[in-house]
């Protein structure tokens, strides 16, 4: 069920600018279904990690307070064009997804 995520990484000087768009419902567990009036069960990404060329650069914890289809931007100093960025996420139901991109 995990849909693909998109990563775009570009160099700006000696800093890589990485932008990630994940596909996820990010249900907080507090929202009610408009038709049934029942609470929609919580379903959100709890952890995101990113690495560049195998070196971990980001380890994030998230809650349902992040918007649906989360966007994440971060900057890493050091990599070169052609280096690989890998992003992983895990949600509260144990679903996971991974994607990689080449810094351009």
């Amino acid at each position: 069920m995990a849909e693909p995520m998109r990563i775009r990484a570009t160099m700006a000087g000696d800093v890589a600018d990485v932008k990630v768009l994940m596909n996820h419902a990010m249900e907080t567990g507090l929202r009610k279904d408009a038709k049934t009036g029942q609470l929609v069960p919580a379903h959100y990404i709890t952890e995101v990690t990113a690495s560049v060329n195998g070196t971990k650069v980001l380890d994030a914890g998230m809650s349902g307070g992040i918007s649906k289809n989360p966007y994440l931007g971060f900057k890493v100093k050091g990599p070169k064009a052609g280096d690989k960025v890998v992003v992983n996420w895990v949600d509260n139901k144990g679903d996971k997804n991974t994607a990689e991109a080449t810094i351009g």
Partner: protein, 155 residues
Amino acid sequence: MNALRRNVLKSAAGAGTVAVAVAAGLLKPTLAMAGAPRSAFEAKNVGDALKGMGATAAADSKDITIKAPDIAENGAVVPVEVTSGIAGTTSIAIIAEKNATPLVADFDLMGGAQGFISTRIKMGQTSLVRAVVSAGGKSYTATKEVKVTIGGCGG
């Protein structure tokens, strides 16, 4: 189950590092650790969230910039950008003070990652957005008010 594993790993690693630092006289035992445990995400108010992160003594800093709209028409999607000019920034946390669970996200930075995070958060109502930055074992904080016209949590 994964959350538990993460906590166990984190507290084990965190405890080890702090113990070494304390032994070396580098850190006072009360100073903050980088990385919020999962329990901090379940805190229902700002005080508990900060306590869970070990950042109750965070000092106000002008070197933290929060870029967010003054007025957010849609609380479900509020773009927030945090830039920390503090050298050696190891983590950035984002807190929406009046959300049901205020701690929105916590980003540990390493391996050359700069003190910069850009994301989009949900806000239930008008409140302060607080950024908490850890650098060199200490915590720093800054806030920016965002007015929300349509809430994005629950309903």
